[in-house]
Symmetry: C2
Subunit: 182 residues, 2 copies
């Protein structure tokens, strides 16, 4: 799967929420997400621009756990990249398998995410702990499909939302690492 | 978790089944299992005696999929080793994540397994395609627990079943590799 996506840093969600309502975007759900990122024993994902993550989303009955691989970004203006996900039934055992294989947990990112649906697109408002507030606009497509038109449409939507600067291609992990170093 | 286990090659399941019935073991279920084994990009599991496997067990409604890591064997008379398992919701995506991380699918093992329960022990009769017929006797315990007594009891059960030779510490994967080379 290809995740066609842009992200922008925003200071305030209020005007974005107003615009989302005006253009007819539908607020779908709120999630608290706890993401543990791993690095590999045989290469440095910070160099290869890959990511391996276990996400936990607390639900009313237990948590949803997702293992995700992300490939290197495909262009220099968006965050578009390969993304592969599986649902798993146990967070600790998955972490333990990865650690036994030589992968190391390097950082945990926590965020509160409000998810909107607009046409075929997913728009999320992310309050990322120790990092800041961000808007992501995304569409998932099959690999091999041309994503340029979709990316153009995504930038149009961002204009519609009043977002014309603050674009950010670095991951929350990279931004958190940067904050920790400052 | 620690998988305390022995395995023996047998020519015929019939006398074993008779003995299982006589000692009061309960036939629990039959499973067809398809196991895909992976090797690592940064070490050779054949050398380190580790294993990484995706198991598919077809069920009436869809398949059960399990990702398993096995550590090196802990002694020289049994197959006792660390085992960590998670259930996953998609076989192809899990294989794709592993392949993107540099792991390579090396071999597929298919078997028909009849699972018996006897006291706290699991006894399985495995018809392994292109390898042969095997009996496994197993108990899963917590790591750190002393497994010697359990292993003694497992060898006692094997005596009870009339199994006193044909013990095999090599994995089905190793045995299949060997057959393919002959």
């Amino acid at each position: 799967m290809l995740e066609v996506e842009i992200k922008a840093h925003v200071s305030d969600f209020k005007p974005i929420k107003t615009r989302l309502s005006e253009i007819g975007a539908r607020e779908k759900k709120f999630e608290h997400q706890v993401d543990v990122y791993f690095n590999a024993p045989h290469k440095d994902f910070a160099q290869t621009d890959e990511a391996l993550r276990i996400r936990e989303i607390p639900r009313d009955k237990g948590s949803e756990i997702i293992l995700t691989y992300k490939g290197a970004k495909l262009d220099d203006k968006s965050k578009t990249r390969r993304e592969i996900e599986v649902k798993i039934d146990d967070k600790e055992n998955t972490a333990s398998i990865l650690e036994n294989l030589g992968f190391k947990a390097v950082r945990t990112i926590k965020k509160d995410r409000i998810i909107y649906i607009y046409q075929d697109y997913i728009i999320t408002l992310d309050k990322v702990y120790d990092v800041g507030n961000f808007v992501e606009i995304e569409k998932d497509i099959k690999e091999g499909e041309n994503y340029q038109e979709i990316l153009d449409k995504i930038f149009e939507i961002s204009q519609d939302l009043g977002i014309d600067d603050g674009f950010e291609r670095r991951s929350y992990l990279e931004l958190l690492e940067l904050n920790k170093k400052l």
